[in-house]
C-alpha cells in the first residue's frame, strides 16, 4: 500500500511514523505486548516465549526480532514503542538501555548524550 497523502511528505531520519500502514504491519506484535499488562501473561511469555509468540501469530520477522532483543527490528516489523515498552520491562531493560540499544551506545553513553542536551 502506498503511503496516504496529506502530511506524509516529510522524511525524519531515524524516526518511524507509526501510521495506519505500520499499525497493520505490527498488529500481532503490538497485541502481544498489550497482553503484558497482565502479570499472568508476562509469566506465560517468560516460561515459553516461542509458544506465546505463536499464540499471537507473530510474523517471522517479529519473532526473530523478539528473540534477538532487537528493538530496531521490532520497530521495523511494526512495533509501537508504547507497547514494546511492556516487553522491554520483561527483559528488565530501562528506557535508557533501550535508547542505547537503538543508537549503538552503552547505557552510560546514552545517558551522557541526554545530559549533553541540557
Amino acid at each position: 500500500m502506498e503511503q496516504p497523502g496529506y502530511d506524509y511528505h516529510v522524511d525524519i531520519p531515524g524516526t518511524t511514523i507509526f501510521d495506519g500502514r505500520m499499525a497493520m504491519k505490527g498488529y500481532a506484535l503490538n497485541k502481544m505486548c498489550y497482553s503484558f499488562n497482565s502479570r499472568e501473561n508476562r509469566e506465560a511469555f517468560a516460561a515459553d516465549e516461542d509458544a506465546y509468540m505463536a499464540n499471537y501469530r507473530l510474523s517471522d520477522a517479529q519473532r526473530d526480532a523478539v528473540r534477538a532483543r532487537d528493538i530496531l527490528g521490532m520497530i521495523e516489523a511494526g512495533g509501537n514503542i508504547y507497547y514494546l515498552a511492556k516487553l522491554a520491562g520483561i527483559f528488565k531493560l530501562s528506557v535508557q538501555d533501550v535508547g542505547g540499544l537503538q543508537t549503538g551506545r552503552t547505557t552510560e553513553e546514552f545517558q551522557d548524550f541526554l545530559n549533553s542536551q541540557a
Binding site: Y6, D7, Y8, H9, V10, I12, P13, G14, T15, T16, I17, F18, D19, G20, A23, Y27, N30, K31, C33, Y34, F36, N37, S38, R39, R42, I71, L72, I75, N80, I81, Y82, Y83, L84, A85, K86, A88, G89, I90, V95, Q96, V98, G99, Q102, T103, F110, F113, L114, N115, Q117, A118
Partner: protein
Amino acid sequence: MARILGGITTSHIPAVGNAIAKNLQDDPYWKPFFDGYPKIHAWIKEQKPDVVINIYNDHGLGFFLDRMPTFAIGAAHEYRNEDEGWGIPELDPFPGAPELSWHIIESMVSDEFDITSCQELPVDHGFTVPMQLFWPGAPHNPDMPRAIPISANTVQHPIPTLKRALDFGKALRKAVLSYPEDIKVVVLGTGGLSHQLDGQRAGFINKEFDLYCLENIVSNPEVLTEISRLELVEKAGAQGTEFLMWMMMRGALGDDVTELTRNYHIPISNTAAGTLLLECA
C-alpha cells in the same frame, strides 16, 4: 456557575512515579525537577479546586489499537489505575465527577466534537503521575478534587492537529462554564516536552523548540497552530507530540492568563521536563 481557576502542565514521565514511591525528591538527579512544584502546591491549597480535568494521553492501558479514540472523555464514578506491565506502583482509584462529564460530553458533541464516552477507563501514568505531583499522596490527599480524564490519541497517526487541540480546549471551556453548579475547576495538560524513545533518533531533545512552545503557549497559543503534525514530530521528537495535551489545556483557559510559575529541566529519563501554572483572569 462553574468556573475555571487555571491550568497546570507537567511532564508525566513514568520514572517520576518510581521516584515518588522511593522518596527521591531531594536526590541530586531529581531535585531540579521536583523544585518546580512547591509554588503549585501552595496555589492549589489556596484555590481548592473541586474538580480536576486531567488531559493526558493513554500509553496502552485504557486503549489498544483495536479501537483507538481520537478524543475520549471519562464519565465514570471512579478511575482505576491498573498494572501497566513494567512495575510502577499502582494507586487506589480516583473518584470521578460523572454528572459534569456528561454535561461536557453533551456540550462538546453539540459543538461538533465527536467524543468517545467512557463509563470505565483504566488510567495510566499519564494521568496518575501529574496527580501525584500536584496532590502529594494522591488520591488520598485531603484536597484531592474529583477527576475527569480526557485522553487524546498520540499513539497512532493520524493524530489531531494542534489547531484541533486548541479548539477542543475552547469548546471544553464553553462546556464547563455553562455548568450550573458553583464549582471550581482546574485543567491539567500532561506530557511532553521534547523527547523520543524509539528509533535511531532515540534520545532526541530540542531545548530551543521547547522554549519557543513554553513562551508562546502562555500569551500567543494561536501561533503554535501553524506547526504541522509532522513538523511537531520532527522538532519535538516522536513522543513530543504529547504537546497536544498542553494545547488542549490552553484552549480551556480563555485569552487572559497570568503565568505564576514555570520550570524546565533536561533530562528526566529521556525527556525535557516542563511545568507551567497559568491562572485565569
